[in-house]
């Protein structure tokens, strides 16, 4: 067994950024194990993306055929199983996207090998892969250790790694992965994908986003967030917890199952900062957090944090902002 396979993912806008994160993670693992780094791209008409992804890698595998245009858990599993049979890698890193998190565990069960989901860090200890993954809402982490026969599989959580820089080196000659798709592999078919529309608040394009979480205690208290957003000329966002509780509409939800925002200023009010929230706003330039709990994970990513009662602090901020404007 030799090689670290890193799977890139091609989305509506080309290679997804997590592909480069997975590549950065894979490169570190390849160096630690002293094994070659192998890229894999699958889809239909993905030649260009494959070459971009393959630059500077030791090998590049490409599965490019019409049936792979809209990948499903089943077709992607078939591609990966075929590639693994050819390459016999020791580790396979996959993007922690909706698709990746569907096919990685499916593949693990087909091969009878271990798979760790949603990893934010990797290391090699005594020749074994070790992965860190957030659990229990993201406030704590667990270190997962792989044992036994490989390949060892893992999905990489988007937003957890620096994106690998495209090397200037030429791409290795693409090697075609021969995939025979069975009738079973084609049982699920994608009828259509309707691209996301920005919500009425145009959250995704906003320069300033003020979001509220459970810390606001009651739906009516969300007016604090609305008031602050008004003064800052920003859009209103919400965490999954308050959307689930029915306080706010789904289109305001920021995070893994909602929208991703990357404003210049992101103000989190009563938001604990669970990983599924943070993945939706980690591209923000400046994060301000107001929370009563000094241990809230949001403070780890905040450029400015106030430990205090939002019901006192937010009105004081609004007052100070308005006073400054005369």
């Amino acid at each position: 067994m030799a090689g670290i396979v890193v799977v890139g993912e091609v989305g509506a806008g080309g290679l997804r950024p997590v592909s480069w994160e997975a590549l950065a993670a894979g490169r570190a693992v390849a160096e630690a194990l002293g094994e070659p780094l192998v890229g894999l791209i699958m889809g239909s008409g993905v030649d260009e993306e494959a070459r971009t992804f393959g630059a500077g890698l030791d090998r590049l595998l490409v599965a490019d055929q019409p049936e792979l245009d809209m990948l499903t858990a089943e077709t992607a599993t078939a591609v990966l199983a075929a590639a693994i049979r050819d390459v016999e890698p020791s580790v396979v890193l996959m993007p922690g996207t909706t698709l990746g998190r569907d096919y990685a565990p499916r593949l693990a069960a087909r091969l009878g090998v271990p798979c760790a989901a949603d990893c934010i860090d990797f290391a090699v200890e005594d020749g074994a892969l070790v992965a860190v993954r957030p659990v229990l809402g993201g406030r704590v982490q667990s270190v997962v250790r792989f044992t036994g026969e490989g390949p060892w599989l893992a999905t990489v959580r988007p937003g957890s790694f620096e994106q690998a820089q495209t090397a200037s080196d030429a791409s290795p000659a693409p090697e075609a992965v021969a995939v025979e798709l069975s009738a079973d592999d084609l049982r699920v078919s994608v009828r259509e994908t309707v691209e996301k529309q920005a919500g009425p608040t145009n959250l995704t394009a906003a320069k300033v986003v003020v979001s509220g979480g459970r810390g606001l205690k009651e739906p009516d208290n969300f007016r604090l967030v609305e008031d602050l957003a008004r003064v800052l000329d920003g859009a209103v966002g919400a965490t999954r917890a308050v959307v689930d509780a029915g306080w706010r509409p789904h289109h305001e939800q920021i995070g893994q199952t909602g929208v991703t925002v990357s404003p210049r200023l992101y103000v989190a009010v009563g938001v604990s900062g669970a990983v599924q929230h943070n993945v939706g706003m980690h591209g923000s330039d400046y994060v301000v957090a107001i929370n009563r709990d000094p241990d809230a994970p949001i403070f780890k990513i905040a450029a400015f944090g106030i430990v205090g009662d939002a019901f006192e602090v937010v009105p004081a901020i609004i007052e100070a902002l308005e006073a400054g404007r005369g």
Partner: protein, 251 residues
């Protein structure tokens, strides 16, 4: 239509505390049905109400899981199976999936429903493992479900937008927020649940886990940001507004 629903009992995640001394997570004794799994139960009950059939709930874990299964029966499920495992977290996801798949094999089914991921360990791996072990097509992140003839028409949320997917039956589906609003058990349902079958079975085959993990701990704080603590609200607000102006984030 025979529907199997896989559920997990988890500690209430709203009550997780971090022990300041050890950095370890302290979990609540309050145990609940993992939130996405409740959507799976609700959807199964709605399908049964529309198309007839039977809903079987399967879970693995210690005796306390009977509470979660009883609640699902009170919501309207017909029968429940508890695969007895002292601690499901001693097994990796694939070992748990093998145990669950073995139970599903023993009953007829048209659909297997599960939640997108559990509230506690959030790996979302057990349902795809089960789909593979049973050679079922699977669709995750399901927010809408229709049946057209013999086909399932599913609406799901993915990175690029809203996707419509078609699948045959039997299939395994993973439910997410937006699919439905889970019902509360009625008093009548709670009474009826006491007479419904809840079978305890031995876990088999328990195969060795290939992953081991440490007890969850809080990561070290790595912030380089300014944190203002123990200040009156007005003063903290002044400092923030000063900082916002320095960074030219407000005029």
């Amino acid at each position: 239509m025979h529907i199997v629903v896989l559920i997990k009992q988890v500690p209430d995640m709203n009550a997780v505390r971090i022990d300041k001394g050890t950095g370890r997570a302290v979990l609540s004794d309050q145990r609940v049905i993992s939130s996405y799994d409740a959507y799976a139960i609700e959807e199964a009950l709605r399908l049964k109400e529309r198309h007839g059939g039977e809903v079987t709930i399967i879970s693995a874990g210690p005796p306390s899981v009977k509470d979660a299964l009883t609640r699902a029966l009170a919501m309207g499920a017909d029968r429940a199976v508890l695969v007895q495992l002292a601690d499901v977290h001693e097994l990796d996801t694939l070992a748990v999936a093998r145990v669950l798949a073995e139970q599903i094999r023993q009953i007829p089914y048209d659909l297997v429903l599960a939640g997108q991921s559990s509230d506690d360990y959030e790996s979302g791996q057990v349902p795809p493992h089960v789909a593979e072990l049973l050679n079922l097509p699977m669709v995750s992140s399901v927010m809408g479900l229709e049946i057209e003839g013999e086909r399932l028409i599913l609406r799901r949320d993915v990175e690029d937008g809203s996707q419509t997917v078609e699948a045959p039956m039997p299939a395994l589906l993973m439910a997410i927020t937006g699919l439905n609003e889970p019902r509360y058990p009625s008093l009548k349902g709670i009474m009826a649940a006491k007479k419904k079958p809840l079978d305890l079975v031995e876990a088999s085959p328990v195969e060795p886990s290939r992953l081991s993990w440490t007890e969850p701990e809080a990561p070290e704080r790595t912030t380089s940001g300014v944190i203002v603590q123990d200040l009156p609200a007005a003063e903290a607000a002044q400092q923030l507004v000063g900082w916002l102006r320095e960074q030219k984030l407000v005029s």
